[in-house]
Amino acid sequence: MRNLTRRLEFFLFPADSDHWLGVLRIGIAIQVLLYCLSLREDWNDLFSLTSVGLIKRDLTEAVLSANSHLIPRIGWLVDAGAYLGVSEQTVLTVSWWTLVLAGFCLLVGFFSRSAAIVAAILHLCAVKSTEALTYGVDNFTTIGLFYLMIAPLPDRWAIDSWLSKTGKQDQHLQGFHRRILQLHLCLIYFFGGITKCAGAGWWDGTSVWRALIRPPFNMIPPELLIVGKSIFPVLSVSVCLLETGYSFFIWSRKMRFLWLIVVLAMHIGIGLAMGLYLFALVMITFNIAAFGPGFAFSWKLPKGPTQMVSPRKATWFAKWLLPRSGAIFLIDIEA
């Protein structure tokens, strides 16, 4: 029992640097800024009840209330503004600028925690009030902002850490939060993979073809795509195996680098071939933050009160990158 508890502690609280957090913070901040910029023209139309919009927020918020009346939404901000005598347009404009400012503060790491909280709440309000117009990228940005809110900020690249001159964050706390992200990512890929495996189209290549010619993802002309139709079955089966196997092979010392690189390549490919740039960016951010540089994992329990993880257990990528980034390479683990 004692051994089991020790193994669990070893697994959940590995010592880790804060590089992953820097990657997550910067990646999600860019995501928030791009979200704001991409909707700049449509922001007021999307949320105003008086403008010409694709869908009215009152309808979306009514549907949202069926889940719970307590889920944050833009309507709350507008109502609060109305109580203070501020018009809807002003509230919406201020919300957009506040979200941009919070995203920028998060990017440079200035008042990181406050910026993460403000960005998370405003982004959540915006996404929930336009639920009918959201897609996967919005969910992943919410996830990223949620983890940033609870993570041990600031990281060493943040302006906050230069200004405050406080000591380094607890490495085990860093490792714990990174482990949550890693486990979450494994669940995402595993369930994404097995649901794809259940579709016949993912075994004969039809799904890849359909995904690539379906508007608005049809970035490549079908006349060009059809030339390479023989590789669709290989591609689609690879996607199924890659996603389902991610949860297992990413922990393997021998396979993790290969798996990570291929998954990153898959997301770059999806981004370019289907025009899902923001989706690609958020997934690449998650992958690099979770399993990128500094990730070292071994199933073996260390012996003795204090041990050093051997450099051999770090990935090749970590060995190459870490000395160049000035990171601590040997990680101490307390028993």
Binding site: L54, A132, I180, I188, T195, W203, I213, R214, F232, L276
Partner: protein, 196 residues
């Protein structure tokens, strides 16, 4: 550690629930006879997530707020098990002089275009007819505001069947199939909608 356990339990449960839901409602490689088991599994997991409790129940509300706040209220079956159909919405604008024009929903950027595509998918997936009608009506209203002189607008919601690679190689293009059509009449002060 308890918080982590609860957090992972929620993620896992939502993923399982949505996976069962997908298997129960869409064609998969599994036998259709299994649908009732998938549905049963989905209902059990939904109950574990408090979704079978009364809408005012504080536990249900607390779980719902946490799931939405953490961005984990939905599973991750993107384009699975099958890539969804391509839905189209076309507006027929009818003028008093008998003229007719066609219009499609307009967006100002590619980013919003992606979101519109998701909206059309949601309209198609909506089983509750009054809600679907209301969503189409709001989209139609935005078109009417650009063309206030029309006497009526017919919103035609359809599906574009994509050809398979071999059919495309033979020269076949996408074919269209009508799903729903709604006639709307708007006036400056109020709006009136006729039965489809």
């Amino acid at each position: 550690m308890a918080c982590l356990g609860l957090h992972l339990f929620f993620i896992f449960s939502v993923c399982v629930r949505d996976t069962f839901s997908i298997f129960a409602t869409t064609p998969t490689i599994f036998s259709p006879k299994l649908a009732k088991y998938w549905r049963g599994g989905e209902e059990s997991v939904s109950a574990a997530l408090g979704q079978r409790l009364a809408a005012s129940n504080p536990v249900r509300n607390a779980i719902a707020v946490y799931l939405h706040g953490a961005g984990i209220e939905a599973g991750y079956g993107f384009f699975a098990p099958n890539v969804p159909n391509n839905y189209k919405l076309v507006f027929e604008l009818h003028y008093a002089d008998g003229r007719m024009e066609y219009e499609i929903p307009r967006v100002s950027s590619r980013a919003t275009g992606l979101r519109l595509s998701g909206l059309l998918d949601q309209i198609a997936d909506t089983d509750y007819e009054p809600l679907r009608q209301m969503m189409v009506k709001i989209l139609t209203y935005s078109v009417w505001q650009d063309h206030p002189n029309v006497t009526s607008i017919r919103a035609v919601f359809g599906i574009a069947n994509l050809p398979t690679p071999s059919d495309f190689a033979k020269g076949e293009k996408e074919s269209y199939e009508l799903l729903y059509a709604y006639d709307f009449t708007f006036r400056k002060a109020d709006s009136k909608q006729e039965a489809p």
